[in-house]
């Protein structure tokens, strides 16, 4: 009977109940949408950055990671590469030569760059760099020594496909090389910083110039980015002489952001629930104070305080139980729609590119978040019920009956 009375009580003032239920629905929807947008942006950014140049796991010489010195190449490369190639979890692998402190010089200007010597065919299995070519090609057709440069470099220095430029760098023996290259392709990734600093050349051309066949980096992919950490741990155990890092270690900000997104939902929902709680308290307090005489009567005729308390708590819970699932459903539908079609934020594409973000954001949320939200709604309702219910318990039956 008490649940029945509680249920009917919430419909005594329909408008007020609908306002509260509406607030709960909108609050939950907003929380889910905001969280999914943040998570989606982060996931898209992470995925784009991994696809553009980081990949899932990287292997370096233990000291290379600190200064990126050319001399810190992977010492026992053949052995390491062989082990990695034979690992079942490795789905794609490539090798890179890196000269981080290089100079690009031409009549159109000089700028410091990082030269990455790659194997174009292997690189296709690791990154999507070839998909970002906006002019020319990715080492498919060229004459002479080809170089692919970032759009930002091309834009700043006015380079076009076919232009000649000089790449200057110091080899592992300290000997300077200044070699003429011809722009074969211009790439524009979602990361403008990368595009303003990196040039790609075939590794073989570097070997021809320096006579040193060595590699600074091995990049590999596994089935899923979430498997990368366990793979890197397992590889590190097998290869103690090199540094094996998963993407979160290669780019700590990416790893940190990814971890943060796990709690973003809780933070968003926590703030929204706190605001909702005050709304619910206000409504329930009004409901209790309006029914002073009725509550007094219930206590007078023999309804115990725990039962009165239960009734008020149930009323609050019912309001939330009506609003909660509707809010979650609305949020789920919204996340589903924008998760498939994407949310076009191209009006701020340039700014987003600076942060390595794509202008189309696909919302994303872990389905288990709905359970978390459900629990938060119930907890909020219970907390919000405490004060009005306590207020009801403090009523003196004889005074309450005479109060109106």
């Amino acid at each position: 009977m008490i649940p029945k009375i509680a249920w009917r009580n919430i419909w005594r003032n329909r408008l007020r109940s609908f306002v509260v239920i509406g607030a709960i629905i909108m609050g939950i929807w907003a929380g889910i949408f905001m969280s999914s947008l943040s998570i989606g942006m982060t996931e898209t950014r992470t995925q784009d950055i991994l696809d553009t140049f980081i990949s899932h796991v990287q292997v370096h010489d233990s000291t290379f990671v600190y200064d990126h010195k050319p001399a810190d190449f992977i010492q026992n490369f053949e052995e390491v590469y062989g082990i990695l190639q034979n690992d079942d979890s490795v789905t794609a692998i490539t090798r890179r030569v890196i000269y981080s402190q290089a100079m690009l010089a031409s009549a159109k200007g000089n700028r410091s760059v990082e030269i990455r010597g790659i194997y174009p065919e292997e690189e296709r299995g690791i990154t999507k760099l070839h998909e970002y070519i906006v002019d020319g090609n990715f080492f498919e057709e060229f004459k002479g020594k080809p170089v692919c440069i970032g759009a930002k470099i091309a834009e700043k220095n006015g380079y076009e496909v076919g232009d000649k430029l000089i790449l200057q760098y110091q080899d592992i023996h300290g000997e300077m090389h200044a070699v003429k290259y011809k722009v074969c392709g211009i790439f524009k990734t979602i990361n403008s910083q990368h595009d303003g600093f990196t040039v790609y050349v075939p590794a073989q051309t570097l070997f021809d110039e320096t006579g040193d066949i060595m590699y600074h980096e091995i990049a590999l992919r596994t089935f899923n980015k979430s498997d990368a950490l366990s793979l890197s741990n397992s590889l590190q155990a097998q290869l103690p002489d090199v540094k094996v890092e998963y993407w979160g270690q290669v780019s700590p900000d990416l790893g940190y952001t990814d971890e943060m997104m796990g709690v973003a939902l809780l933070i968003y929902m926590g703030i929204i629930m706190l605001a909702l709680m005050f709304g619910i308290i206000n409504t329930m307090l009004m409901a209790v104070l309006e029914r002073t005489r009725e509550l007094g009567m219930l206590m007078a005729v023999g309804m115990t305080k725990p039962k009165v308390f239960l009734m008020i708590v149930l009323e609050t819970l019912f309001l939330s139980i009506v609003g909660g699932p509707l809010g979650i459903l609305l949020g789920h539908l919204t996340v589903g729609y924008f998760g498939t079609n994407g949310l076009d934020l191209s009006v701020v594409a340039e700014g987003m590119s600076l942060f390595g973000m794509s202008s189309i954001v696909y919302t994303s949320i872990d389905p288990s978040a709905y359970i978390q939200i459900g629990i938060m709604v119930v907890v909020t309702a219970l907390l919000a019920a405490l004060y009005p219910a306590r207020k009801a318990l403090k009523l003196n039956p004889s005074e309450a009956i005479r109060s109106i």
């Binding site: 009977m1 009375i5 009917r8 009580n9 419909w11 005594r12 005489r293 009725e294 009567m297 219930l298 206590m299 007078a300 005729v301 023999g302 309804m303 115990t304 305080k305 039962k307 003196n396 039956p397 004889s398 009956i401 005479r402 109106i404």
Partner: protein, 229 residues
């Protein structure tokens, strides 16, 4: 047999302050089983205070209220609530029905709190609502009933728990004369045929005229106690 024995009950509001009020100043009263008693007196004489203390809704400053040999002034709150539930029926001036429940549910609610079986509840609720002449209004909510009908539901509710007596605080104050007459007829019939003990406070001369016993209070003291007809 005495159902209620009130001995030297005093009630002082704001004791020791400048606005101290002696609402009851040593009231002694015994109510026998089956009596139909009106507590009368001018406003502020202590009628409602006395009924609240007898009903366990308020505490006395001193004295004792024995109901079937139990001094309710010494009962802790949780036992007092239970005592009220099983021994006392209440009828309030403003009916005080639960607006979201039907007449049937309002009457049955008390028995539900007593944890009576469903079949017993249904039978008694039907019988009581027939007794108060509302068998055709069982599924109506309070806002679909007139004031007189609501008060009759309240009487049925008060009786549902099979109490030792019914306390009614100004039960006819909000009723027109016809409804007052109907309600009094029902209460008197229940009193005569079923032996239900009624104690009610009232200003209403029509009610006073039909009471079997009239106890008059003035300034918190009983000034007369008259048995009629």
């Amino acid at each position: 047999m005495a159902v209620i024995e009130i001995k030297d009950v005093k009630k002082i509001y704001y004791p020791g302050s400048e606005i101290q009020v002696n609402a009851l100043s040593g009231v002694n009263l015994t109510i026998e089983e089956g009596e139909f008693t009106a507590i009368v007196g001018p406003s502020g004489s202590g009628k409602t205070t006395l009924l609240n203390i007898v009903g366990g809704l308020d505490t006395s400053s001193s004295g004792s209220v024995n109901i079937d040999q139990t001094d309710i002034t010494r009962l802790p709150e949780n036992k007092l609530i239970d005592f009220r539930l099983h021994h006392i029926g209440f009828v309030f001036q403003a009916y005080n029905l639960i607006p979201v429940l039907t007449a049937k549910e309002n009457v049955g609610f008390i028995m539900l709190l007593q944890k009576r079986p469903e079949q017993e509840r249904n039978d008694r609720v039907t019988a009581l609502l027939e007794e108060v002449g509302l068998s055709d209004k069982m599924d109506k909510r309070p806002n679909e009933l007139s004031g007189g009908q609501q008060q009759r539901v309240a009487v049925a509710r008060a009786l549902a728990s099979k109490p030792r007596f019914v306390l009614a605080d100004e039960p006819t104050a909000n009723l027109d004369s016809r409804s007052t007459g109907d309600l009094l007829d029902i209460m008197l019939r229940l009193n005569q045929e079923e032996g239900t003990t009624f104690i009610f406070s009232t200003h209403d001369q029509r009610v006073i005229d039909r009471a079997r016993r009239v106890v008059t209070l003035e300034d918190g003291k009983i000034v007369s106690d008259v048995r009629q007809g």
